[in-house]
Amino acid sequence: MTKGIAGIGEDYKYGFKTPEKYVFKSKKGLSKEVVEEISHLKGEPDWMRKFRLKSLEIFLKKPMPWWGGDLSDVNFDDIYYFIRPSDKQGRTWDEVPKEIRNTFDKLGIPEAERKFLAGVGAQYESEAVYHNLKEEWKKKGVIFLDTDTALKEYPDIFKEHFSTVVPPADNKFAALNSAVWSGGSFIYVPEGVHIEIPLQAYFRINAQNMGQFERSLIIAEPGSFVHYVEGCTAPIYSTNSLHTAVVEIIIKKGARLRYTTIQNWSKNVYNLVTKRAVAYEDATMEWVDGNLGSKVTMKYPAVFMHGKGAKADILSLTIAGKGQNQDVGGKVIHMAPHTSSNIVSKSISQNGGRSSYRGLVKVLKGAHGVKSNVKCDAMILDDKSRSDTYPYMDIDEKRVSIGHEATVSRVTDEQLFYLMNRGLSESEAAAMVVSGFIEPIVKELPMEYAVEMNRLIQLQMEGAVG
């Protein structure tokens, strides 16, 4: 009774392409010249140009990771590292080139902005084509810009924080991003300001063999709050694209930050991302990380708890279908006393897909009173699919409370029989069980995304039964 389950996420509706009318497209491949060119085109200060070149050297020296997803098919010479989509960034959607605007219309971004967002950034290929923050938040001193613009307009605050959380030498892909970064979100929330409705950025790849390397920097001053949501999609091509982002977050005393990702790249995108937050005293970082798309994803959102009483919450939701390897998880580093962390990972593997939870809980000596809890639930929907758990622990302090729990579940024949007995078709029954499985994470999503997530599962289960 399992035929009804096949095909969640197999029906990709974001795979459309838009004709290329770009202002600038670098030649394929990575070189010192390409890096210099990017920096020159952006009119960057000299320190950034040097930073990029140094990062390129680090990238070239570092070996590829030997663990995680299969990256043997990534050809760094076959990628476009920089595409400038438009010579001017829109403050209104009318100022965005028509074809690009149509793309974001199809993706529902302007509509979402009107309905429930405090601000929106839209990146197309390498740079933002649209950025807007509602007036009431500007007045309170909130800054929400693309990262390139932030470097120009707020050079001091930028330089003070940039690359302090993720240095180029952190890993090969952080080095790559540091060399060729372009676009991304820059958010600054002043002390005590609570942005009650989310800010959202949307990242769209359109060109074939594209590399997108956005770099985001978020600074939450003491006692502030912001919820940032990012989404991403791309057309389907037979060749590979690369998405290598770096996200750096600094949360100061008593501030709280929630970062929600709905990653839905097409299945030819390698998604190799470094995301990390530093949380100071009594600060809270929440990663809500949804991975539905991409060919290979390697992403482990991290929280370094520097200050006592800091908290980390990582909720990870993964769906791995045909041809997909989702190697995801989270890292929590307890560096101060009475810090606490909670990681909940839910994965669904089906149609030959593979998902892995890879996580690290690290407690430094002297960080007494730490509490950490990790829970990994895997749902495997057929015999072709696979799920693994790699929970690493490195605990250097005795007075701590650490918990780890892992479960594997299936949609059982008994559940299907019970639900069908109440009049649900097999696919509806399977969708209901799957929806229930991911519910603890879906309920944390903004309502609009939760509804979409459930609809997606429902629809695609229906489509799967012929």
Binding site: Q415, F417, Y418, N421, M432, S435, G436, F437
Partner: protein, 251 residues
């Protein structure tokens, strides 16, 4: 009024090659109550699963007819749509799915079957649900819990009867709705079954004990031993079984 009924004729069923039901015949009309009593392992639950179309239960011989339609080859949901219902002895857990969402979902599926049936709103359904749950003395908080997760035996049975009342089928098979219930819970569950019967549901009640039959009055009592009905009679047969046990009927 149409003559709605379930006809079971010479039903023979096997599980993994082993024959469990050895020729069962039974005819149940809407509004009738048939009690099926028998010792452990006599095949009573097999009958309920086979009636509902569980894929592991293979029908070797015989026929199942619901409202004059052969339902032998229909999937469980198609049988449910045609008016058949099973209250499980051991209902399954559906983690993450709230009772409220689950029930609204199946209620709307049912409504969609009737002519011009439009799904009810969340608000409308919750009003209906609150009322029905009140009748079964279920706490409001149960609606927000996940289906059967962490439920006591009694809560599970009440949830089954709640579904019976909400779906209002033509024929309901109740597989030991009384097992594990204390006397208060037994009364509450029985009242629910009686409300369903008053609305015209035909009931096949599978039970070990005559106890529940003090509250839900059967029209017929069938004794089930070794995959067959060995004796049928009126309500008085239940009393006799209570006194004598099953041994005198074993062949």
């Amino acid at each position: 009024m149409e003559n709605k009924n379930l006809k079971i004729q010479d039903l023979q069923v096997s599980i993994s090659g082993k024959k469990i039901l050895k020729g069962v015949s039974l005819s149940v009309k809407k509004g009738e109550v048939h009690a099926i009593m028998g010792p452990n392992g006599s095949g009573k639950s097999t009958l309920s699963y086979a009636l509902m179309g569980h894929p592991s239960y293979k029908i070797e011989n015989g026929s199942l007819t619901l409202n004059s339609e052969d339902i032998n080859s229909l999937s469980p949901d198609e049988r449910a749509k045609r008016g058949l219902f099973l209250a499980f002895q051991y209902p399954v857990t559906i983690p993450g799915v709230t009772v409220m969402n689950f029930l609204r979902n199946i209620y709307n599926k049912k409504i969609a079957l009737t002519n011009g049936g439009k799904p009810v709103s969340i608000f409308q359904f919750n009003t209906l649900l609150k009322e029905r749950m009140g009748l079964l003395k279920m706490e409001d908080a149960v609606a927000k819990r996940y289906v059967n997760e962490g439920f006591s035996g009694g809560e599970k049975k009440r949830l089954e009867i709640l579904q019976l009342e909400i779906l209002n089928p033509d024929i309901a098979v109740l597989d030991e709705p009384d097992s594990g219930l204390d006397i208060d819970a037994l009364k509450i569950v029985s009242e629910g079954v009686n409300r369903a019967i008053e609305k015209g549901v035909g009931v096949i009640m599978i039970t070990h004990y005559a106890r529940i039959l003090n509250y839900v009055k059967p029209n017929f009592v069938h004794v089930f031993i070794d995959g067959k009905v060995v004796k049928s009679g009126g309500p008085e047969l239940a009393k006799e079984l209570e006194e004598k046990g099953y041994d005198w009927l074993k062949g």
